[in-house]
């Protein structure tokens, strides 16, 4: 039935609503006006062409990490390592961007490929461990996150130390940056960069792989039921590894768009929060590529608006992250929402009979 197809949308919308209500309660609890807070939050994300550009730039990495988590999830794998894959992608891209002195049209494909390889490798290892030794991918990807964290912590100060700060790399040159003049001008000097086109291209490619190819069919079959996929003659292990590599590559690409597009250097001491937000993006987007796009843009608004809200009111910017975290919790406990929707459906049916 049609209403069942729209179920994930309703669950997502109700989760978002509950998250926003919880955020409002927190604002009120700390002595602020929630209505005013939300007005500034959304204004901060959308009120000018420049801010819309920033929102899209913030959403770029989220789209890609969301796709990464969603893609692995379709094969029944939980990629909690998007953060680490993003860091490694970013590190590889920054390293080549700083080391090679080539014209932009040559250098950009090289750094993007480096990011995809770096992230893909960070997905390959948990994939192999899962396929070959049945090591749970959640634990393996958590470990890979911290290995990436310390690798960046070591590599950046040792090889690419910034001019003033030990905790970040040198700024990349114009020829390695994803920002381009015409796009920056179009959005009145915003952070928006070529990454958004890469993200949209990735959505289309992933949607085609999942819905129109044999590979996508096999990956989904493994996700639905490993044993029957095997019985049907599919190579389950190969599909697991492939799925993790593709997921890792997407997160690696997210790293390139973030560190070479949104930012212009890579910092140490943080696991990028986009990796974990990606789980929320995938979850709310019901693991579909287009759902991920919509969710990522919504989160982009929250993230890029929170600074403006903080400047105009006394509400700390962490409210944005808190709302997203609470939304994930509600999306994870969607059984409650499903029960609620079932009741409404039953009620409507009952009313019709009368």
């Amino acid at each position: 039935m049609n209403s069942d197809k729209l179920r994930p949308l309703w669950v997502a919308l109700i989760s978002v609503l509950l998250g926003l209500i919880a955020g409002g309660i927190l604002m009120a609890f700390t002595g602020n006006n929630p209505v005013e807070g939300y007005i500034y939050l959304f204004k901060g994300g959308l009120m000018s062409i420049e801010r819309i550009g920033n929102t899209l730039a913030t959403a770029t990495a989220l789209i890609l990490t969301g796709l990464s988590v969603a893609f692995a999830f379709r094969t029944g794998l939980f990629n909690i390592g998007a953060s680490g894959q993003m860091l490694m992608g970013g590190l590889c891209a920054t390293a080549l961007g700083l080391s090679l002195n080539l014209p932009k049209p040559v250098l950009l494909p090289i750094v993007l490929l480096a990011a995809i390889i770096g992230g893909g490798l960070w997905g390959l290892i948990p994939g192999l461990l899962k396929a070959r030794f049945n090591v749970h991918e959640v634990v393996a990807t958590i470990m890979m996150n911290w290995i990436a964290f310390w690798t960046v912590n070591y590599a950046v100060p040792s090889f690419f130390k910034g001019e003033y700060l030990e905790t970040e790399s040198r700024n990349i040159g114009v020829n390695a940056s994803l920002r381009v003049e015409w796009l920056t001008k179009l959005f009145n000097g915003s952070y928006i960069n070529l990454g958004i086109f890469l993200a949209i291209l990735s959505i289309i490619v992933i949607a085609i792989i999942l819905n129109r190819t044999v590979l996508g069919f096999q990956l989904k079959a493994v996700g639905f039921n490993k044993d029957s996929a095997k019985y049907a003659g599919m190579n389950v292990n190969r599909n697991i590894v492939l799925s993790m590599v593709i997921a890792g590559s997407l997160s690696g690409l997210a790293g390139a768009t973030f560190y070479l597009g949104y930012a212009s250097n890579i910092q140490i001491g943080v696991l990028p929060s986009q990796g974990f937000d990606g789980i929320a993006v995938a979850l709310l987007g019901a693991n579909s590529p287009y759902g991920a796009l919509a969710t990522a843009i919504f989160f982009g608004i929250l993230h890029s608006g929170k600074g403006f809200m903080n400047a105009m009111t006394s509400i700390p910017p962490e409210i944005g992250d808190t709302i997203i975290a609470i939304i994930i919790y509600f999306a994870a406990t969607s059984l409650l929402i499903h029960k609620f929707l079932d009741k409404i459906k039953a009620f409507i049916k009952g009313a019709r009979k009368k």
Binding site: V138, W150, I279, E318, I324, I328, L335
Partner: protein
């Protein structure tokens, strides 16, 4: 070389203890069948609750405030962990997603409140826990210097928790039920055990212990809440796996990780170690855990039902 070792021992132990108590918390949760990757967030919550309590009380109760702070941290984290329990036990949510949500909520909401209180998002405490030497035992040659001099009282409390946990898990009716719920909840339910209740209690204990862990970091070596415990919660999770879900295994694993991390932190100051790049020592615990997972993949001691929601109708 011996001097170096005895010199870094107190630091290694100080680093091990919060890891150990948090990992024991994870042990209770996972042994009951609930995977808890929210340990990191529960530690952050503990560190926050401890910092708030201590910074408000320390003017009146210079010594007592620290212990009150640790207790409050345990209680607050315990209550916070019930969010995870409710999601993963009652609502049959994906435990990994719920745990991730716990981590994210804790990381964001504590800094949100801290900013409202102090403006900066950090909360400093003036007084840390004093180091004490144990009389008589500290005079034992070598061992006295390594284990009984300059120790924190929290260390001994956590060791007591370890012994008590081992006793509870293996020698009491509750422990037997706990393990049954993690191995085969349907059989446990058929034997009349309330699986939901046992799992709730287990997750609650994991929250309390992780809260202690976060607070101990605060009162021993960090002295400040800053919205993160730098991945120690995940390291505790790694120790749980590396220790193969057994109390003494966890003791060994956390000490191993604590020692490796301490050596990594001080390696630049010690000529014999300065030649080893810090990264090798830092990634060591994580790589070792991955290798352990591979080696134990055939004979893993993981609770069989860990991560699976309990469904009465399933056989």
């Amino acid at each position: 070389m011996i001097d170096i070792l005895t010199g870094i021992f107190p630091y290694a132990i100080a680093f091990t203890i919060p890891l150990l108590v948090t990992s024991l918390g994870g042990l209770f949760s996972e042994r009951s069948g609930v995977v808890n990757i929210g340990l990191e967030g529960l530690m952050v919550m503990g560190s926050f609750a401890g910092a708030i309590t201590i910074s408000n009380l320390e003017a009146y109760l210079p010594n007592g405030s620290i212990w009150i702070g640790i207790m409050v941290a345990g209680i607050v984290s315990g209550i916070f962990s019930l969010l995870h329990a409710f999601a993963s036990i009652h609502l049959k949510a994906n435990q990994v997603i719920s745990g991730t949500a716990i981590n994210m909520i804790a990381g964001a909401i504590t800094v949100f409140f801290a900013r409202n209180i102090t403006g900066s998002g950090n909360i400093r405490i003036q007084l840390g826990l004093q180091r004490v030497s144990i009389p008589i035992l500290r005079d034992i040659p070598l061992l006295g210097d390594m284990f009984f001099s300059n120790t924190y009282l929290t260390t001994w409390v956590v060791i007591a928790i370890l012994i008590f946990s081992k006793f509870v898990i293996y020698n009491t009716a509750f422990g037997l039920r706990l393990r049954a719920c993690g191995e085969h909840p349907q059989a446990a339910a058929a034997a009349g055990i309330n699986v939901f209740l046992i799992r709730y209690i287990a997750v609650f204990i994991s929250g309390i212990l992780a809260g202690f862990g976060g607070a101990i970091i605060l009162v021993t070596y960090s002295g400040e809440f800053n919205g993160s415990v730098a991945g120690l919660g995940f390291l505790a999770l790694a120790a749980l796996i590396f220790g193969q879900w057994k109390p003494l295994g966890i003791l060994g694993a956390t000490f191993f990780f604590g020692f490796a991390s301490t050596i990594a932190n001080v390696s630049q100051a010690i000529p014999a170690l300065a030649t080893i790049p810090g990264i090798i020592l830092k990634v060591f615990p994580y790589v070792v855990t991955l290798i352990a997972l591979v080696l134990f993949s055939k004979s893993s001691q993981a609770p069989k039902a860990a991560g699976e929601p309990f469904d009465q109708g399933k056989r």
